[in-house]
Structure formats: C-alpha cells, structure tokens
C-alpha cells in the first residue's frame, strides 16, 4: 500500500510540476511530492505483529477499541491487542517511547496521515513499569532496561525498581 501511495504522490507531483511550469511561474524545485514519509521503525522485539502487517495498518484502531472495553469494563488483561503491548514492542530505541519524538512509531504515521491521536493524553507512551503484568512482559524485561537506560532523565529510580521486580 505504501508503494501505491508513493507512486500516486509521485504522479501527482509530476502533474503539479507540469502545471506550474506550464503557467510559467518561477518557483523552485517542486515540493509537493516530498512530504516527509513516515518512518516505520522495526519493532524492538519479535519478527511479526500479532496480526498481518497490512491488516494492522488499516485496522489497529478497531482491535484496540474492542480490547480497551474488555480491559476497562471486564478486567481482561490479555497482552494480544492491548495498547500496552503495542508500546512494549514499538517504543523507539532512541526515545524509549512511541510518541515522544516526531519519528516515533505512532506519531510518525499519524502525523503523515493527519490523524490526531489522544491515546497519550492518558496512556504512558513508554514501556517501563511493572514487568509482572503478564508473561510476555516478563520475557522482555531486558528490553525495558535497555530502553530505560536510553531514556536517561525520564526514568525515575522507582520505575527502575519496578522493572527489577
């Protein structure tokens, strides 16, 4: 899909450039096709997302909404389809977050698509915290150490203690 968008955009920019040139307007090199592409960094752990990648690109929000209600209202805390587990896998190695910098996993695509996300008004963007939450987390506690050390000032001593636990 990304490549399709790319070719569409390229064609669009060609048309625009042609139009601009045709009107004889003196502008610099055309910028229209050069909107910064989202940076999709590979997840820190794992090879494959819980669902097919193409499916997740289109439908992750639907899965998240269903799982959200099960967790909040019923108390079901399975890692699959949980926002927390998305963050555990996709937090950037540089910032330790999925939404702290422009190139972090969630923000990168969402700003490209011009879709505002308000998940992180309430949810932490970082994977640190209780490693005891579920088994998958326990397995990846060492990643959290790695991420936490890179997020330097943002991690408190307590949080580190939480990871060790």
């Amino acid at each position: 899909m990304a490549s399709k968008i790319k070719s569409l955009l390229a064609r669009g920019s060609a048309v625009l450039t042609a139009a601009v040139l045709g009107l004889g307007l003196a502008v610099g090199p055309a910028q229209a096709g050069d909107a910064p592409k989202p940076v999709i960094t590979k997840a820190v752990k794992g090879e494959q997302c819980v669902e097919d990648t193409e499916y997740m690109r289109k439908n992750h929000m639907k899965l998240l909404n269903v799982h959200r209600d099960k967790t909040v209202i019923e108390g079901v805390r399975t890692p699959k389809h949980s926002l927390k587990e998305c963050i555990n896998c996709h937090a950037s190695e540089q910032t330790g977050s999925v939404a702290a910098a422009k190139e972090d996993f969630c923000v990168s695509c969402h700003s490209y698509a011009a879709v505002k996300i308000d998940c992180f008004d309430c949810h932490s963007t970082k994977p640190q915290g209780s490693a005891a939450m579920h088994s998958l987390n326990a397995e990846t506690a060492h990643y959290k150490h790695k991420l936490a050390s890179q997020a330097n000032a943002k991690v408190s001593a307590e949080e580190m203690a939480g990871i060790a636990k």
Partner: protein
C-alpha cells in the same frame, strides 16, 4: 462521623451485616463444586483472559485504633503506585488529586482523637454511578468502582454525588508522567481503584495496605469479603465495624473499626 452511633448498630449481628453475609454464602454455595477450594482460586489467581467475577467482592477493613498519628505511608504508597502528585508537591494544591487522604478527627466532648484514611468506599450502590450521564462511572463485577476515561466527559456530577469526597478531576495535562499500568489524564474524574492493576495481576493486595503493613501498623486489611475463609471476612466477623454514613445505605466496601 462526629455523630457517633452506638456500636451495636454495626456489629456483625446487625440485620444489614447478616443480609450481606447471607448473600455471600449463597454465592459461595452456588459455586462450590469442590467445597471451599473454588472461591479461593477465583479470588487470588484469576487468569488474565478471565473477566472479573461477581463471586468476589473486594473490600477493605480499616482499623482506626491502629492507624498512627502523623503517619502518611498509605497516601505516599498510593501516589507512588498510581502516579498522582501528592498535595504537598502540587503547584495547585486545591486542585490536586487525592485518591486517599488521612483524616484526624477529634471528639469535641471527650477530646479523643481518631486517625483514619479516607478513600473511595467502593459502594455496592454507588451514587457516582447513578448520576453519571454517560455511563463512564461504573461498578465492576468484583465490586470495584471505576471511571472509564474513554467515556468520561469531565462533567463532575459524580464528584458532587459522592458523599465521601472521594473523587477528583485532573485539571491539567500530565505530559506523559503516567504509569504504564495506570492511565489517567486531563479532563477526567478519578478516584481510588483498589489498585485494580495489582488486583488483576493477582497481588491480592493494595499499595496502601502493603505500606501500612510494612510500617508495622497493620491498620489496613484488603481482601475478598465474599469469601468466608478470607482474613478480612474472619476479622469482620469478630470485630465491631462501622460504615461511614451508614444511614445512606450504600453497603460500603470499606469498613472501619474503632470510629
């Protein structure tokens, strides 16, 4: 609380208490395939793919006779576990969240002083749930009263309805300071959750009760009030306890001894 009622009002033999115990025993009987085993499993080892069950009712017993003057350990533990800024450190103390707070009371006649923590009482008939226009304020199957922040519109009706001033609104952006297990944010009402993230993890205890025990005061006891074998049920059977504003008939999940 200054209008102290005669102790007999809330002794374990009061009609209300008897009704409560009766209901609990009925539930237990319904579930006891292997008598006495099943319920403990439900209470302490719920698998993560199982929803919270109404066979459990989480509750807390506060022993005010053991709660120490000047000790604030439960409050500190709560703010650390749940990531809210304590009043003393807040830039806007009047707006600061207070999931749990220490009260020091004095009987005007005898000068007797009583210490106790006040928190969401996890009412079985919660007024905050009755008034919520969106259904955001709700009671989970296991008796824990929560706010679903995805549907809360921040109208604060529930704050007005709560007889215990247990709820607060988050007024300002929290700028990613939240704990990963405890989402909370601007424009939503919040209160004590009985450390729902710990309960779901199978800890079977809250941060405040753990801290109180660690400090050697043992004034807080958390557990399943539906399980007749649990420590809290045993102590509730033995000790005279009261519900704060028992006249409101809300059937509270937090019971006090020594008030």
């Amino acid at each position: 609380m200054s209008d102290m009622k005669p102790m007999s009002d809330n002794t374990p033999s009061s009609p209300e208490r008897r009704r409560f115990v009766g209901a609990a025993t009925a539930t237990a009987a319904g579930l006891a395939i292997a008598p006495g085993v099943m319920l403990i499993e439900v209470a302490h080892g719920r698998p993560e793919d199982q929803p919270a069950s109404s066979a459990v009712r989480w509750g807390m017993l506060v022993d005010a006779t053991k709660c120490a003057t000047g000790c604030n350990d439960c409050v500190t533990a709560c703010s650390t576990e749940n990531g809210w800024t304590p009043v003393a450190e807040s830039k806007h103390p009047k707006q600061a969240p207070q999931w749990i707070r220490k009260l020091e009371l004095q009987d005007p006649l005898t000068q007797m002083e009583t210490n106790l923590p006040m928190l969401c009482q996890h009412c079985a008939e919660p007024p905050c749930v009755d008034v919520c226009p969106t259904g955001a304020s709700f009671k989970r199957a296991d008796g824990i009263v929560l706010v679903n922040r995805h549907t809360c519109i921040g109208c604060r009706y529930c704050m007005m309805a709560c007889p215990y001033k247990a709820r607060s609104l988050v007024h300002e952006s929290l700028n990613d300071t939240q704990k990963p297990d405890v989402p909370r944010g601007i424009g939503c009402v919040e209160a004590c959750t009985f450390c729902v993230q710990k309960v779901d993890r199978g800890d079977g205890n809250t941060a405040c009760a753990e801290a109180c025990t660690a400090a050697g005061h043992n004034a807080l006891l958390f557990g399943d009030m539906n399980d007749p074998e649990s420590e809290i049920s045993r102590r509730l059977r033995e000790l005279p306890t009261k519900q704060v504003r028992a006249d409101l008939n809300l059937n509270l999940g937090v019971r006090y001894h020594g008030i």
